[in-house]
Symmetry: C2
């Protein structure tokens, strides 16, 4: 009897091995076909990626999965592995594209130049020059005296979570303290999405969203906005992008880099698209304090799959303390916290204490000052006859270049000691733009912009 | 002509769609077969996982890939997707196993109990109770005064990297400063491995290695060590585990949780296995200062695919500052730094300054004190007639329980205000063990161990 079973086992194993080989052969055949398609497309001048065709095949796979009783998630995961590889096959000989040059890349270059003795005017990075509240300094000294430098709860020290919960009008189990808003974004995207699933990013956008998705093999679909439309997303286009793999929409208003604020009606419609499709809605609101018109937080819409991300970096000029947070329902917070437990254990306790100390003040002076600086930058850019959409918030202006590409200007300026961010760091279609950060005193901004004006004149 | 190409495109697309459907059908058929195999195995009482069968099929796929001219990496990736799914299918109805209860999980429970007013003796976590060097406190106050609280180079401030480079005898471009040794481990594993690739962990082990691998869909293969063999890894077994998907071996000596130190000869042989197979060798040496016999760092072997991980947490009792680092060749450091750029931008600057301040001292008193405490714990455990291998380093003792399972004891003790770590948090096969951390003053350790002794007596 046992021998019989062993024979059966042996025979089944052979079948598995044979069918595996057949699958591999078919996948290879599929790649060959994809390559041929790529060649024809290339000769016809058509884009390699074709959303419509992809959508058709996805629907066929889903209905097949239903028919044969296969899990939809696994069928889609498998299809995504095939689609990614066939895209690769189609562009096989395309030159290895370098990674995007981002504002952070320029910042690193600037830091290296500084380390070698060069002076740099920093208009590439969103780092306010003013100091944090004075009590933050006291808190740092206190931390040592009070021995507040231990591992904390992964979600953050209770007092800080309570203070954030009170500010945001939620309960403390809906809050997790992270090392910067960036890690809140990172852990939300990497814990809520799986490889092959999709998130939608409205570009131009902070590059981190796509980078976090890439990191776990999730796919970023881009909803492109344009200068001509004043950076307003086309919501019909958004609806057409939905497919069974779509799992998240990322919002970032006030927007980095454009300063755009979405009106309430549009935000409401986005929330309802998310609801209808059961999507997570990640709203990065780190610039929420720097607003020049009415701004509605995602929280006002009471959507239970929304995640609000905020930070102490911009509000309190505490970039280098690396403290931010996420607010969401407790299930989502548990997932975010699990990434945090794996990656960092907990946020440095003295930094959490400093953030708590900062919260007893509201930095209205910072907000007033940023508005003044933005006005100043806008005025100067107008003098230079540059076109841009007036920012409605955040800390940046995103002007269009009358000629040439962003990287060229950015590199020339860096040579002259002025760092600005290339527009293409926020999306492949924005090589005609640069981002100017208004985080310096007017005198320094003036100096930087004067150098920029003269370099651009030389280019003309 | 153009019409002809369009027709061809259409026909190719149909072929792609048909072959996709065929692949999906075959994969489904494969899953059905796997399920049948699972049922037979279960009736025969055989483990679902069978390394030998897996290895055979892997070799067949590789030779097929070579034959038809398909990339080996992609073929293996595909196979791994199939293998994981078929394991899933085989154990389909197995109860959803809860996540392992780890020392960190117990710590979180203890923290919550403390927040509700209960007093807890912490023998579950590796957090020394003594303070960091005094100049760390001064540095915190200075940071604010000197406005050292900004974004820094992703790899860390130059002075700290220089100091670490000098200590480790490397150049500063071979160093990256991370938020704790944990993030160095996280970013090394997630940047150097891809989904489907494998790393080898020697258990019992700190759970983070497997968690980081799981996070990106890499597979953890376990080399199990036993109490009977004094936690010595069997290197022949290690060699037999090699397959084309193996990419990394993780070492952690002095070991957490056993306190084992590997002798130089064995380490040399592991390095040569790594070399022969082109593997990364991640050596987590955060306990390198707490050694009771000769300890050789991975650095002494000059292997260019090795990554040393260290930290300020244990050496300087600076757990809550969250500063650690990785040392490796510049290519590897660049990969680690790219994860850091995506996840956190840079480590909090005041924490980096604090770490730099600490480095001007060597904490020999901490080392002496830890040795004394370990002796004390060992003595007490002997009085309780518990069996264990005497630790050769680190900060823990890992005794065997004469009866019952770890979780049961851990939970009973937590009720009585004593937190210890379950042995199974370090590997599924260690339910007969618990980890005692010697990070408290002897008086407190005595209190905790007395409670432990009385609870164990009740159980007897």
């Amino acid at each position: 009897m046992v021998m019989g079973k062993n024979d059966e086992l042996e025979s089944l194993r052979h079948q598995v091995s044979d069918i595996t080989a057949q699958i591999i052969r078919n996948v290879h055949r599929r790649m060959e076909l994809a390559k041929q398609i790529g060649e024809i497309k290339s000769s016809l001048g058509i884009d390699v990626k074709d959303e419509k065709v992809e959508q058709e095949i996805r629907l066929r796979v889903l209905s097949l999965a239903d028919e044969i009783g296969m899990g939809r998630d696994f069928a889609l995961q498998l299809l995504n592995v095939l689609l990614e590889e066939s895209e690769q096959a189609q562009v096989q000989k395309r030159l290895q594209k370098g990674q995007r040059q981002t504002h952070l890349g320029i910042f690193m270059k600037a830091k290296q130049l500084e380390a070698s003795g060069k002076r740099i005017i920093h208009m590439e990075i969103g780092e306010p020059d003013y100091p944090p509240p004075a009590r933050v300094g006291e808190s740092l000294a206190d931390s040592f005296r009070l021995r507040q430098y231990h591992y904390t709860d992964t979600r953050g020290i209770p007092k800080l979570r309570d203070a954030i919960a009170e500010k945001e009008g939620v309960s403390e189990d809906e809050v997790v303290v992270t090392p910067g808003g960036r890690f809140a974004v990172f852990s939300a995207i990497t814990s809520l999405l799986k490889a092959g699933q999709e998130l939608i990013v409205i570009e131009p956008a902070w590059p981190a969203y796509k980078q976090c998705a890439d990191f776990i093999g999730a796919r970023t679909k881009v909803l492109r906005t344009t200068f001509a439309n004043k950076w307003t997303p086309d919501l019909q286009q958004l609806e057409e992008m939905m497919n069974p793999s779509t799992k998240m929409i990322v919002l970032n208003y006030p927007n980095n880099p454009t300063g755009k604020i979405l009106d309430g009606k549009r935000l409401e419609r986005i929330v309802s698209v998310a609801k209808d499709n059961g999507l997570y809605l990640l709203s990065d609101e780190v610039y929420a304090d720097y607003t020049l018109k009415k701004f509605a937080s995602i929280h006002e819409y009471g959507y239970d799959k929304s995640i609000l991300v905020s930070s102490f970096s911009k509000r309190y000029a505490m970039t280098g303390f690396r403290v931010g947070y996420a607010v969401a329902n407790n299930d989502i917070i548990a997932k975010i916290a699990s990434v945090q437990a794996i990656g960092i254990t907990s946020v440095a306790e003295p930094m959490q204490r400093a953030a708590l100390a900062a919260m007893s003040e509201y930095p209205s002076e910072n907000v007033r000052m940023m508005k003044k600086r933005l006005d100043f930058v806008c005025g100067k850019l107008k003098e230079m006859s540059l076109r841009f959409v007036e920012p409605e918030g955040a800390m940046y202006v995103y002007p269009e270049l009358p000629r040439g590409e962003d990287i060229e200007l950015v590199e020339k300026l860096l040579e002259k000691g002025v760092a600005i961010a290339p527009g293409s760091g926020f999306g492949d279609y924005y090589r005609q733009f640069v981002r100017i950060s208004a985080c310096q005193p007017e005198k320094i901004l003036e100096k930087g912009l004067t150098i920029m004006a003269s370099v651009m004149k030389e280019q003309a």
